[in-house]
């Protein structure tokens, strides 16, 4: 019996010739990623070693990556102290894949991992962040775990009791209409599946539209696979993957590709034709409450957020700059721009995008997670509404349970910034 991509990767990493959904395996981990919550991982890691009579040792410092992004620069003494603890640990254990708060190599963990070439096709990537699914864009089994589970991975080099997920195959045909983007596609898929539809499952993306999609777009799909509950989202790697790793991530080694078997068995198959896909918006307070922009046009907004691990990449900023060039962010609207990484920031600056956005009235902030998770930078007032290119709109997500968050693509965000209400891109304004 053939295997899906998720099954193939887990079989290899667990030293088995084959696995099937429901099998419980212990895959060796190729990359273990954490952000500020590494402080909790460190605490749990020391708990594990306490009483073993052994020196606390990470299994392989080369395979651990730590990136500060959730609260940068620190918003509180507590965060700053957590970050300090992590820095000391990183130094003591000789962890090289560490990205501190810096304007040259910092940024959001998922963007930094990608552009640093840390992830390769076939890898098993564990991350203490639910959006670790992003790295499925490279054909890696990349999934989110808790801090204690990560502490266990640091100690053992393997993830324990991992259930092999069954896979939902998503085939996407056709090509995007003007300004319609991978974000609209994944919001549409989440609407079809619901927020729980892929819980304990994998999503595997196929079809000509996926083959034609750049890595950045594939990252959007895999990133938000988590919002349908998926353990992982996967795109079979191809020449585009190799080109990204060689040209953008500057990886010099040969890239070995892998693909699912032709006779792999899927849980179910979903087919989507892009020629019928229009702009989508996810409404409060659930990501699967998705509507067409046309059905909600005119909704007044107070804050626009452009950025995040979902939509803070160069092409996202380019689209927004294209729409906002020579235009003005509407009065009464705050537009906050968070490039996904220092590299993205620098390149957006060199290409003039940041200048365009600033001239239009947007505030360009430092790379990081920004207001996405409601910790600092850009909290909402009571009764305020945000339109954001981020990935979650749960109650209280942006720091205030009495506010609302709508999720959309960069193009919808930029077009709406000009009008101050939810607006379809491409309309004359």
């Amino acid at each position: 019996m053939g295997m899906t991509l998720a099954e193939k990767i887990l079989a290899r990493a667990s030293g088995r010739s084959s696995v099937k959904p429901g099998d419980v395996v212990e895959p060796q981990v190729d990359l273990a990623m954490s952000h500020e919550n590494a402080a909790l991982v460190i605490n749990q890691f020391h708990e594990i070693w306490k009483g073993t009579g052994k020196e606390a040792r990470v299994w392989d410092p080369e395979r651990i990556a730590i990136i500060f992004d959730h609260r940068v620069p620190a918003e509180s003494a507590k965060t700053a102290t957590n970050q300090k603890t992590v820095r000391e640990f990183v130094k003591a254990k000789g962890i090289q894949k560490f990205h501190d708060i810096r304007g040259d190599r910092g940024g959001i963990c998922h963007q930094v991992l990608a552009e640093s070439g840390y992830v390769r096709p076939g890898y098993v990537v564990a991350g203490t962040d639910s959006h670790t699914t992003t790295h499925g864009a490279f054909g890696a089994f990349a999934w989110g775990i808790g801090a204690t589970e990560m502490a266990s991975v640091w100690a053992l080099g393997a993830a324990l009791a991992v259930e092999v997920p069954s896979t939902i195959k998503v085939t996407v045909r056709g090509s995007f209409l003007d300004y319609v983007s991978p974000k609209d596609l994944i919001l549409f898929i989440i609407k079809l599946l619901t927020a729980e539809g892929a819980n304990f499952k994998a999503l595997e993306f196929h079809g000509e539209a996926i083959r034609a999609m750049p890595t950045s777009g594939r990252m959007v799909l895999c990133n938000m696979a988590a919002e349908a509950g998926a353990t992982v989202g996967l795109v079979p790697p191809d020449e585009e993957t190799t080109a990204y790793l060689h040209d953008t991530a500057k990886v010099s080694e040969r890239i070995d590709l892998l693909s699912p078997d032709a006779d792999a068995v899927y849980d179910r198959t979903i087919e989507i034709d892009l020629s019928e896909l229009t702009f989508q918006v996810s409404c409060p307070h659930s990501v699967d409450a998705v509507k067409c922009v046309g059905d909600i046009e005119g909704k007044a907004i107070h804050q626009i957020v452009l950025g995040s691990c979902t939509n803070g990449r160069l092409d996202d900023i380019a689209v927004a700059a294209g729409i906002l060039r020579g235009k003005r962010v509407a009065d009464g609207v705050r537009m906050l721009v968070f490039p996904a990484s220092a590299k993205v920031y620098q390149e957006a600056m060199e290409r003039g995008y940041l200048g365009i956005l600033a001239k239009a009235g947007a505030v360009v902030m430092n790379p990081g997670c920004g207001p996405c998770l409601g910790v600092h930078q850009g909290a909402l007032g009571d009764g305020e509404v945000a339109l954001s290119t981020t990935n979650r709109n749960f109650k209280g997500r942006m720091g205030n349970p009495n506010s609302e968050v709508y999720l959309c693509s960069p193009a919808v965000a930029a077009a709406s910034a000009i009008t101050g209400v939810i607006t379809m891109p491409g309309r004359k304004v």
Binding site: Q44, I48, R57, R71, S76, S152, L373
Partner: protein, 556 residues
């Protein structure tokens, strides 16, 4: 079963942002997170933090996809701190995994119907709503997840893995260094291999040359290629080797190697040094029915420090004048010796380090905790050998404080030899510096049947080498005569260390059965069965074992 009360009824898709808002993410410690549980639900939050919910009886009743969203573990620890139970129609994957890992009780009950204030009886397979009288089936967790819960959470589960030594996870196929050595080493190793194959232990066994024949032919009893091999195995099984005094060793070298200044060095001592195999573990258990048992019920485990003490090899004979001058200067007790000529005496240094003493003590206590042993006794002569043994005892006392549930005492090496013979059942785990450990391990071994049963493990952080403690017995070589049980039990120790605990327990059960039945006995047990018959008897006992059989252990 327990009766609990619904204190909060929630709908579908309740996210971790609702359970533990992101703005408190910098608060990480499980002791501190409960203050922020459901912080944005002001009514429930104030009931929770105001102590207005029934302690340990409170249930949060949720719909589908409870805990969706972030991987933040605080969303679990904050509920755990209030001793809440979650009953949900379904739970998001990461939240459920975090709950299992931390030990928060989560019951998945897809059809549950209940309201705020209802009493629920929670059983293993169903939830009964006492208020309505209706029953709802629960959805069981996968066995692998149950194992983590039963271990008391992932921290304990992972620690257990580490203690079993395999920093590497269990493999589908292992690589075991196979070092049969000289004389009867090959026969006893073959017997152990027969048992390992019979239990279905998947491994390859690359052969490593070691021992007297290597010395004679190559001038090195532990050739470089064997050292390289040991760097690339999961563990090793070592048979036995011949060793002879320095002059005899030189005489037996092949002609081309003589006179080149080659000095015989014990390969086992070298392995201990090269791979820092600092624990010498010697379990001594009186299997019922063994005619060699000194007393029934003996179950001792000796932890001998393996790398320092008097065996450090820092020795002087003759003693250089420079050294005697320095010693005379620094110790007035040296006065009786200071005028002796260098060749009139000899000095062997007893060197004990804080690190070495601490880590062997830790190994002993960690073993005691994991195997639910009751007592650890440190063996020393600290009343006389104050510097080194004093340091050893001090470190053991410090480590003992971390294990309050385990009784700790200490005894002088001379006294314990007497007490062990008088009341062996009064002792449990023994920990000692190298020389004393060497002495008591042989004493203990003889109390449970002697060399034919004495197995040991030389254990380090990355490698462990297991062996029967007997020698190569050249006079019995090739006679298919000696007892292979010590080697079979060494293989059992190896499986334990690799984390293959069920297989290890099965082997021990089979060995115990063969000894108990007393039908097949080798010469040392008063019988005449050959080595191979003993191995076959163990293999037969394995085939007859009830599945999942666990031998009785102290404390369980």
């Amino acid at each position: 079963m327990s009766t609990k009360q619904v204190v909060l009824k929630l709908g579908d898709d309740v996210s971790t942002d609702v359970i533990y808002p992101g703005r408190f993410m910098a608060t990480i410690l499980p002791a501190e997170t409960p203050q922020h549980a459901f912080a944005d639900d002001t009514d429930f939050h104030s009931r929770l933090t105001g102590g207005m919910i029934p302690k340990e009886r409170a249930v949060i009743l949720a719909g589908n996809n409870f805990g969706c969203g972030s991987s933040r573990e605080q969303a679990v620890s904050c509920l755990q701190g209030h001793k809440l139970t979650v009953v949900a129609k379904s739970v998001a994957r990461i939240f459920l995994k975090n709950a299992i890992n931390l030990g928060l009780p989560v019951v998945i009950c897809p059809t549950i119907g209940a309201n705020d204030g209802d009493d629920l009886d929670i059983h293993e397979t169903k939830v009964v709503n006492v208020s309505t009288g209706r029953e709802y089936a629960t959805q069981p967790l996968p066995e692998a997840q149950k194992a983590i819960m039963e271990a008391g959470g992932l921290i304990a589960f992972t620690r257990d893995r580490l203690m079993k030594g395999s920093a590497k996870p269990r493999r589908s196929k292992y690589r075991i260094g196979w070092l049969p050595g000289d004389g009867i080493g090959t026969e006893v190793c073959d017997a152990a291999r027969r048992v390992l194959d019979a239990i279905g232990f998947e491994a390859e066994y690359p052969h490593g040359d070691i021992g007297w024949e290597c010395w004679r032919a190559e001038g090195d009893a532990l050739p470089e290629r064997t050292i390289e091999l040991l760097k690339n195995v999961d563990a090793a099984l070592f048979g036995a080797i011949t060793s002879k005094p320095v002059k005899a060793a030189e005489a037996e070298l092949s002609p081309g190697l003589k006179g080149k200044g080659l000095v015989y060095r014990s390969p086992i001592v070298r392995m201990r040094q090269l791979f820092d195999l600092y624990v010498c573990l010697r379990p001594c258990k009186a299997y019922p029915g063994n005619p060699g048992n000194y007393k029934d019920g003996i179950d001792l485990t000796v932890f001998r420090e393996n790398t320092e003490d008097l065996y450090a090899g820092v020795e002087f004979s003759p003693v250089p004048d420079e050294l005697s001058t320095v010693l005379a200067k620094h110790s007035k007790n040296f006065a009786p010796f200071k005028d002796l000529s260098g060749d009139a005496y000899a000095i062997s240094c007893k060197i004990n380090t804080k690190k070495g003493s601490e880590r062997i003590a830790r190994a002993a206590f960690a073993h005691a905790r994991m195997h639910k042993r009751k007592k650890v006794t440190a063996v020393d002569k600290a009343n006389v050998v104050r510097a080194t043994d004093g340091l050893f005892l001090e470190m053991a006392q410090a480590v003992a404080k971390e294990y309050p549930e385990i009784v700790f005492d200490n005894a002088n090496i001379d006294a314990i030899c007497m007490w062990l013979l008088k009341n062996p059942l009064n002792f449990d785990v023994l920990v000692a510096p190298n020389l004393y450990g060497d002495i008591i391990s042989d004493l203990c071994a003889q109390m449970v049947g002697g060399l034919g049963f004495a197995c040991s493990g030389n254990i380090g952080e990355r490698l462990a080498v297991f062996e029967p403690t007997h020698g190569s017995a050249p006079k019995y070589a090739g006679m298919n005569k000696v007892n292979p049980i010590a080697t079979i039990l060494a293989a059992k120790m190896m499986l334990e260390w690799l984390g293959e605990t069920q297989k290890a327990a099965d082997i021990e059960g089979a060995v115990a059965k063969v000894i108990r039945e007393g039908v097949v006995r080798t010469y040392d047990m008063g019988g005449a069965a050959p080595t191979t018959d003993m191995a076959e008897a163990v293999v037969r006992a394995l085939a007859e074992r009830p599945r999942g059989q666990q031998p009785c252990r102290k404390g369980s």
